[in-house]
Amino acid sequence: MHLHELSKPQPVGERARGRLQASDALFSLFKHHLKLRLQYRETFLFSLVLHPLVMLLILAMFKGVYAKQQTVLGYSQSQMVWYFGSSQFFYYLVWNIVDKNIAQKVMFGGMDRELVRPYSLLSWELVQLLAHKLLALVFEFIPVFLAYWLILRPDFLTGAGLAQYLILTALALLQFFLLSFLFGILAFIWQDVSAAHALKFIVVNVLAGVALPIAFFPQAVQRVLYALPFQYLFHVPVQHLLGRVDVARWDAFAVTCAWHSAWLVALFILTEAASRRTVRHFLSAGG
């Protein structure tokens, strides 16, 4: 096909075939990243050994605290220990360094190659991340979850709570990906965006409640945090896992998902708009 023919409207059948080829290509890409990640499977073993040890340390810390009281800010001992233990699940299933990857390619070369691929930069990074997270789910989340279970039985856990946690975490994965991507593409303008990477730690540890339950903050701060979309990254999913919301009410869960999806759509529009504007600033040979 000549180049000028690309601009002609194609018959419906050809367009459908084109879409099929694109999805095939993305699936191949997914398999490629899966194989690539499997080359480094030893890193998963670290989780199996080290994270249960971290859980034991958390348990030792809170045993002393709960010796004098039954609940702390509405959390039972098992809920509190699992809250801190679950922060590791955030790193398995949600956390990414997409911003850092993009910035490094802009600064040290390699971005020009990324931009001439037949997929958008966003699709490329997302497929890579999904492959990574699928492996993390199988080789890290499930075994470590079971190890945590052996260390401290989760008396609060229900099947519905776990299912809702996983669904909300999948949405959180997309939300955090878009956020990181947004920070990453700022490198087209500023080259070094390590400040944005540092900002991510504030978002995760403070605004999403990964380092500490939001209930520990003063009331005024809590009101602000609950109004922001970052609570969906960790705080909201983990409340379902810990049974701190009525997990039998699927209608309420649907409303939560709808709110989360609305934030996702807004973030996607913002990312797309920013992507178009920032990429114009890119000059090969190191930005």
Binding site: Y40, E42, T43, F44, F46, S47, L50, H51, V54, L57, A60, M61, K63, G64, V65, A67, Q69, V72, L73, Q88, Y91, W95, I97, Q104, E140, W190, Q191, D192, V193, S194, A195, A198, L199, F201, I202, N205, V206, A211, L212, A215, F216, F217, P218
Partner: protein, 271 residues
């Protein structure tokens, strides 16, 4: 002059290499001024927020046994000083070895004049942490004055010894991390665990029940980072605390032995 007559080339000292790296990082940071300024502000803000929410935990748990609010503020200030100091001196070491090994550039460290480990540990300074160090130092000084702590030479010496031993223990962990990177290449998980370790050090060891406290002081001396230096300032050190200095040195020796073993097994292209 023939090569034989040349004076043997002195390998630069570790401290000198650190200073050179810091100077280079500062120059590089000034090339990206906006990012540098934002980074300074964010790292200072994050450190302050981190200290603040440690205080929220203190309030939420209705205090820690044996710690007044003022003493906890001193603890937070020393925590700020500690995190800033390790970040300033070694904050970029993990990034450095990750990049070198992943992109196959690690071999060049073998042809540099200093030993590989010395080169590695002296290439990770982070100039952005300066603001945190200053904030921690000023905060610690203010709290020592407000609490009316009578600062004697012996207390200052004990603080310095425990702080230095804490740095030695941190170096031991960094060496283990680097040695593992040589054969595992991707180290994301260990990075996260590394960061979680700091989390446990940010609470007084008195909070841990049973043998937990002894383990944190002697076996895996996380207490060296903040708890023991603060206890030294407040003049209420446990007798067995000195064992932590010995264990930090022993752990560094073990870590270096592990590094040497991995270094011998390293065959380039990811080990």
């Amino acid at each position: 002059m023939s090569a034989a007559k040349q004076a043997p080339r002195r390998t630069p000292q570790f401290a000198l290499l650190l200073a050179i790296d810091l100077q280079m990082k500062l120059k590089r940071a000034l090339a990206f001024r906006l990012n540098f300024a934002a980074n300074l502000l964010i790292s200072l803000f994050y450190s302050l927020v981190f200290s603040l929410f440690q205080f929220c935990v203190y309030a939420g748990l209705r205090g820690y046994p044996g710690w007044s609010a003022g003493e906890m503020l001193l603890f937070q200030a020393v925590l700020l000083f500690w995190t800033g100091s390790v970040d300033l001196l070694f904050g970029g070491v993990r990034d450095f070895i990750d990049l070198e090994v992943t992109h196959g550039n690690f071999d060049r460290l073998f042809v540099w004049p200093p030993q590989v480990l010395v080169s590695l540990l002296s290439r990770g300074t982070n100039v952005q942490a300066t603001a945190t160090v200053l904030a921690g130092a000023i905060g610690s000084g203010m709290m020592v004055a407000r609490l009316g702590v009578h600062l004697t030479w012996s207390k200052a010496l004990a603080f310095a010894v425990f702080f230095a031993a804490g740095l030695i223990f941190y170096l031991a962990l960094l060496v283990v991390y680097s040695a593992c990177t040589l054969f595992m290449v991707k180290m994301e998980r260990l990075r996260e665990v590394f960061d979680r370790v700091l989390f446990f050090a940010s609470f007084p060891a008195d909070l841990y029940a049973g043998a937990g406290k002894a383990a944190l002081i002697v076996a895996f001396p996380l207490a060296l980072w903040v708890y023991l230096p603060v206890q030294a300032l407040l003049g209420r050190l446990e007798h067995f605390a000195v064992l932590s200095v010995g264990s930090s040195i022993s752990l560094l020796a073990l870590a270096v032995a592990f590094w040497r073993r991995q270094e011998r097994r390293y065959v380039s292209a990811g080990g």
